[in-house]
Symmetry: C2
Subunit: 451 residues, 2 copies
């Protein structure tokens, strides 16, 4: 058993790219990979609780179908045979999609979300649904941090981050309306990538706040995060999905033509960073040397979090208010409060906040004439102890509000052995250069550490 | 003098297409045409009061420049040498743009609106600025109806409609947030065409309600209305301007492949139609015979006007509220009330109305599987007597709300000799087919009348 388990862990720990390569070249079957992932889940799930739904038999059947397809010499996609976890607010045909609330228990969509259809087109095996917080807002699900089960995995994409961190699956989809990809990625020590607003269609995904909702991916390498390119591109049923900053992989794998210029931005929220994050940034700045320049954001950016909060409250009141009305005793107090706040908001104040979204985005443009990316905390620090909160998204809010592509890298470790995430942010559309710079940064810091 | 005046009137009465053709072929100079228009203005302006600003010398200089360009054999555009009036909420470099309020008196934009730049690129001569109601809302400007100066020309594009009707200029630009192109066109007896939402960029135009604001054109023929194609197409600075339903002219001039199918829609607002409009529609239905079918819109469409009102109030409170705050005694009571209403509106109610905008638009799609266009009143009937109101836009609201292309045709005459407008509506994007059907309708009815 020990040997079987070891082998399962090794297979399941492959990056998605490496797994796809081996499957394509006949060195590995999708069935073996999926079985290995299921073995790791069997071993870990009791502690981690990452999954809202799993259908082991169906996953194995799909994996075998993928293997037959390849054996017959039919064309295969970039994710052929690779298992993927899907956050439980994203519709998968044939699986229940419960949106993290008892109110939607047993809800079974008739149709795949656009991203799920594109995953299948790329050859992926949909392994199951990962735990989300209640309606992808703050009230936690059952998931625990794989690095320390007494700590939160972050939210709202809790299960996706934890499943990738625990070696259960190489890739998982999540969503971010405030900090729901970057924060759990940081807390769980994996790569979390949220592309530019408008890059990944949201058709078939629970709508929280359409001006803010964005999809993202969890992975164990930056190159794997680039695989989200298969999901990008316009969709007739999501008016905001008009952009396609892909393809990503070729640029991601390339060398930067010159040394990237990094803006080290502590943000107006720096005082909320914990000691671990302060130490991490204290080390990071000298390690980056000339490549990094400390930049202070002027005052209006500090107000961005409040504006995002207003837009979120108003739009979530519109889109999720009916849950509160139908079953007030089945929703969390936090959600009830948010809906009440949103319902109290005046329309012109909402519109003013929407205007500021554009103003802040435009105001950041000149910074990116001088710098390739912003380097900033992913979260306030280590994943907090306790499972009754999913932590503070404040270091994500501004970039979500402005629709910037952003990635969290598990670059440092805190005093309790918990991962500390560093966030890189690029201007809208520069997703590929963001990933390229991220790879350069990881390489540079590891050479630094080795020297 | 009589002869000179007669000749000026004849020249100024040319359609824009015919004038452009003669200029292109050297049969007419732009200078003669512009001089003729200025002569008509001299004769009529005291009564009609269509212009907020005119610079006769500058217009003549521009016309002569156009003539020299043609004489040198340089390439010329489809509006080469043709004078155009521009509503005074649209920025024209070198002319004051007063937005119909004393608060903006003497405001001189540094830059042309995108549509003005495109007009110039097409060769047009910007003759001057036409009168708008206060901030393009309901409070009237000085303009009178050319058919009866005791009656309103309609609003808010009052001067543009009146100037074209009075023979002062063959083309004029207007805008419509509720009924500001179609209604004045109907009252003044000219063609008014408002293309699909998103077709004509609004950069450099006063923003009232960005979810509703649309530009349009006044002309004396349907073929001339098609000339707005020169102004269509995406603009980097207007996110909503992403569509281009043009080119229009070739389709407009073509024969319909089959007899068009018309849906005669009296709308849920029919009881607000006056006796003249009821009579006009009483004649129209039999005249159209088999081509037209009476169609009743189900209940939710009746609520569209209320939803448009909510979106308008909230967005105008956001965008024009500062006028009320800065100079409450310099704005009309109607505007003060609107801004107060908008400020009282709750954000989720605003968002619900925005959602209904999409729902209503989608709900109309199946109707256009069976019918080419909707035929419906342009206004409640004849232009009302009195200059203290600009009339009721209710027959325009639904189509504006849904962003449908729509055209008002001066097809009938009321008992007081005033024009009665008939409105044709097509689904978003079908602007060219709308114009083609409009031409067919005019021809069919005139044959009917002659037979």
């Amino acid at each position: 058993m020990g040997t079987k388990q070891d082998r399962a862990q090794q297979l399941a720990a492959l990056t998605a790219r490496e797994a796809a390569r081996r499957i394509a070249e006949g060195e590995l079957t999708s069935a073996d990979l999926v079985a290995a992932c299921l073995d790791v889940i069997d071993a870990q799930e009791e502690e981690v609780q990452a999954w809202a739904f799993l259908d082991r038999d169906k996953a194995m059947l799909e994996a075998k179908e993928r293997d037959r397809r390849r054996q017959r010499g039919l064309p295969i996609g970039p994710l052929h045979g690779v298992p993927v976890g899907v956050k439980d607010i994203i519709d998968v045909k044939g699986m229940p999609t419960g949106n993290g609330t008892p109110i939607d228990e047993g809800r079974r969509p008739f149709e795949d979300a656009t991203v799920v259809r594109r995953l299948r087109d790329a050859g992926a095996v949909i392994l199951g649904k990962t735990v989300t917080t209640e309606l992808a807002y703050f009230h936690p699900g059952k998931t625990r941090n794989p690095h320390d089960p007494s700590r939160t995995p972050g939210g709202s994409s809790s299960g996706s981050a934890a499943a990738v961190a625990a070696g259960m699956v190489p890739l998982a989809l999540g969503s971010q309306t405030n900090g729901s990809v970057i924060r759990p990625a940081a807390y769980c020590g994996v790569v979390g990538f949220k592309p530019s607003f408008g890059a990944v269609p949201r058709t078939g995904v629970l709508t929280l706040a359409p001006s803010l909702d964005q999809l993202g991916i969890f992975s164990r390498s930056i190159e794997d995060a680039a695989l989200i390119e298969s999901l990008m591109g316009p969709d007739d049923r999501d008016d905001d999905a008009r952009e396609n900053p892909g393809p990503l992989t070729a640029t991601t794998l390339a060398e930067p033509p010159v040394t990237p210029a990094l803006a080290l931005v502590r943000t107006p929220f720096w005082e909320r960073a914990d000691a671990a994050m302060r130490d991490a940034f204290g080390e990071l700045a000298p390690a980056l040397g000339d490549a990094a320049t400390e930049v202070e954001l002027p005052e209006p950016f500090g107000r961005g979090v409040g504006w995002l909060g207003g837009v979120m409250a108003a739009e979530m009141a519109r889109n999720l208010g009916h849950y509160v009305d139908r079953a007030p005793d089945q929703v969390s107090e936090k959600l009830r409060e948010l809906v009440a706040d949103g319902r109290a908001m005046r329309a012109p104040d909402y519109l003013a906040a929407r205007d500021m979204q554009q103003v802040l985005r435009d105001s950041l443009v000149p910074l990116f004439h001088r710098f390739d990316v912003i380097v900033t905390p992913s979260a306030t620090g280590e994943a907090p102890v306790g499972l009754d909160s999913t932590g503070d998204p404040v270091f994500c809010s501004l970039w979500t509000f402005c629709g910037m592509p952003t990635i969290s890298l598990p670059l440092m470790t805190g005093p309790n052995g918990m991962p500390i995430g560093v966030q890189l942010v690029a201007p809208p559309g520069q997703d590929a250069r963001l990933l390229r710079t991220a790879r350069w940064l990881v390489r540079t810091l590891s050479q630094e550490a080795g020297s």
